[in-house]
Symmetry: C2
Subunit: 486 residues, 2 copies
């Protein structure tokens, strides 16, 4: 007797109807060759008995299998597995020892230079490398607004397929906003809404460079931008970064020797060292871009967070003749999970990027995009910015005081004029050696191993930590350092 009971598996706790579970089992077994074609199968009454199920369930399953062509009834003879299924040659997939039986997993992953981000452990106190404090963001307002949009008459339309450039109202509002707050001269056709700065950088790399092109980044620079350029097949050229930002004399020297296609900068504030690109350097960079015909990707993710004076206007506010691709994001303003950003560029550049975006993810979340437009229009954005800049400045000042008080013997740093992190350099101990001690005290610091080796430094994000939390972190850091010295 064929072991029907052990092969036909049903489970009443599952979401799927019992009769479908029966037909699923049949199909799997037939496909795997464990039930042969032309094999006779028990009648529905018999099968119901065998499986301990209601006969109606079995009849439904047989009807399903019959409708799908897996079984056939031959009158006055019985029910059979169909004879014309080419299943015989298929028996070996699971047990085969042929090399073709299982697709071998390759020994190396060509994309290993990009880390697969895994969430942090849950029990650790996390110090990020500079993230907004989502607890300050009006997230409840964001979702209330979302709901009221989808329940409005105009909002329903935003639930359907639409243009790849993003919500028109956001583009329109943003063009006006960027003009007012950053002196940029642009209109709706110069804007592509993205999923955050990262997608802007990715699209610029894909759309505007070719295999082998040379792209200048700082030494060091934002790692995820490095990866995007490498992924596009570009060759990275590193130029030193000092207190004034990217060293434009070094860049000029490089440009005189090599043909540069693109320069990537984070002018407010350089990643990782948090310096601001100076006015003089900005102008020199523009001149070089004109002279050597390269494009500047201006990743201005930190523009809004400047505590000393007003931020310097972006390069994109100058008459740049299509040389600046300006990248911005709402993720840094509200919360990392608010995946709405934008690219401002010339029409032909936007056109290229938009077409590529079409095949990456079709379109953005138009509801969230519309909420961002509303945030600009009704002042929610500027209220939130005002509040968070005030609080972030306090947090920066608190951290600076704390570091001076408790860790002055071990670390040195410059007070950042803006942004979300202090670039903390260690003086008389190796950060790489300290790492395990930090973890043992319950701390998870954002220590990048390359930066730690190159600079013996890491980015201490202060904006996402309340003063009490900072106290605790610095206390634990002090303990860890003592522990390592003993």
């Amino acid at each position: 007797m064929f072991p029907w009971k052990s092969i036909i598996a049903v489970n009443t706790n599952l979401n799927r109807a019992l009769y479908l579970q029966i037909s699923d089992s049949f199909i799997k077994e037939i496909s795997a060759g464990r039930i042969q074609r032309s094999q006779k199968i028990p009648g529905s009454r018999k099968m119901a008995e065998l499986l301990g199920l209601n006969r109606k369930t079995v009849i439904q399953a047989y009807e399903e299998l019959s409708a799908q062509g897996w079984i056939q009834s031959i009158s006055s003879s019985g029910t059979y597995i169909s004879s014309d299924l080419p299943v015989s040659r298929y028996t070996s997939i699971e047990t085969t020892e042929l090399p073709s039986g299982k697709l071998p997993s390759p020994e190396s992953n060509p994309f290993e230079y990009i880390p697969a981000s895994i969430p942090n452990g849950k029990k650790l106190i996390i110090v990020d490398g500079g993230s907004p404090d989502h607890r300050l963001a009006p997230m409840d307002w964001v979702y209330r607004e979302s709901r009221s949009i989808i329940n409005s008459s105009y909002g329903k339309q935003l639930l359907t397929y639409s243009g790849v450039h993003g919500d028109d109202k956001l583009r329109d509002t943003l063009a006006q906003y960027l003009s007012e707050t950053r002196g940029m001269n642009l209109n709706i056709t110069n804007l592509l809404i993205t999923r955050g700065s990262q997608m802007g950088i990715f699209l610029a790399a894909q759309a505007l460079t070719n295999q082998g092109d040379k792209v200048v980044v700082g030494s060091s620079s934002y790692d995820a931008a490095d990866w995007a350029f490498e992924y596009a097949g570009c060759q990275l050229k590193r130029v030193p970064v000092d207190q004034g930002g990217l060293n434009t004399s070094a860049l000029a020297e490089l440009c005189s020797r090599e043909s540069i296609k693109m320069v990537y900068i984070t002018p407010h504030h350089h990643f990782p060292t948090t310096v601001t690109l100076s006015n003089i350097r900005r102008i020199e960079l523009m001149e070089l871009s004109m002279k050597h015909d390269f494009i500047v990707v201006e990743d201005d993710y930190d523009y809004d967070f400047h505590y000393k004076s007003a931020p310097i206007l972006p390069l994109a506010s100058l008459d740049h003749g299509g040389r600046i691709i300006y990248v911005g994001s709402f993720s840094k303003v509200f919360a990392p999970n608010v995946r709405v950003g934008y690219v401002a560029a010339s029409n032909w550049q936007i056109d290229r990027m938009a077409r590529i975006r079409r095949i990456i993810d079709r379109q953005g979340d138009q509801i969230m995009e519309r909420v961002m437009a509303e945030a600009i229009i009704n002042g929610e954005l500027s209220r939130h910015l005002k509040k968070s800049i005030r609080i972030y400045k306090q947090r920066r000042d608190h951290l600076v005081e704390l570091l001076n008080k408790d860790l002055a013997n071990h670390v040195e740093f410059d007070i950042p004029e803006g942004g979300m992190a202090v670039w903390l350099r260690f003086k008389n101990c190796q950060l790489t050696d300290l790492r395990d001690y930090f973890t043992s005290t319950g701390l998870s610091l954002d220590i990048d191993k390359y930066l730690a080796r190159q600079f013996n430094a890491f980015r201490f994000g202060f904006t996402s930590l309340e003063e009490e939390e900072q106290n605790k972190v610095v206390d634990l850091m002090t303990k860890a350092i003592e522990l390592s010295a003993s």
Copy 2:
């Protein structure tokens, strides 16, 4: 007298503080070379008079400019534009006639094969090529749920940066769900959450093919998948599609001649012709994939919508030894704007795709992902599916009846077993000629020019149209056809 008043532009209606508007103007003019370095500028009292502003505002502006290094005060002499700004060579950007003055926009866009989707005109009645009816979807529940998640203690964490693979709870729930509903044997490590099917296809193309690889698609096939493979540098090989789906004999013949890297299919239901890939073809396809070592991308976006019998289990439910990349989406279930999808594949394939995803958009919307998990867990998803399948079947039947009644002389079609569209072939008139007539009656049909030329057919999406709306559309189509004949 220097024309300060015409050059320093302030506007009290703008969001930006007046003193910053003044400093912005200065910076722009200096950068553009219209204000020279070392030029003396009027004192704050004089300037305030000139501009008709409060003196305090001007003082603030000067302080800002001074802090940024643009101007300097020389005691008992006055205030001057800084002398060490290298602005002189920068004068010509706007007016230059040198070829380097403005980055020329290239004559051709290498990505023109991908259309930049533009939204439809608003006054037309839109018939899509097969989209869910967002009016049926529990969108209010989705946003209520989002709000309650972000206001929960665990939900706050979802607002921060996290892993690229997507929300763990969704991956966990989905693994269970796919196992129960589709017989797939997988766990959380086999799943990568994406922004919808399109990103799944894009990532598969990017991660698992190389420049020049041959990829098989149907003739015709889903256009946005074609573009993704072309973009990855693959060579498309077209295999005929008939009533049983992709013709596997033709594929076998092709494989005997050429080395095939990947085969893309939409088994439920073939795009554009809506046929289902038959059981026999499925098994033959698996055999060929084993024999010739190619990967199958199974884009099963339409799985849930089958009206005749239960859908055939996916190829991915078989023991495929890593040969099937399974792509699914919630966009088709709820609404196009719900940009959450997934890819199920072997660990090493998921690892490659996840790393690439890291540099595209960093991560998905974890709140929406968590809502999808909740929809599975609390039954909202299956309730919605049950309801929409019932309604969609009625709409299909209504359309079939309507077409038979009103357009039988002009069109022919097969009743689709599932999916969201009828593949409507025209008999005695040219669809391309009819196009303008349709538009003139107020209709916007999803007529793809390539498909129209190749098949004289288009996809009439029935799921997003209520019966009354269908009546109106078919009525207008009839009028347009009469108009064209007269």
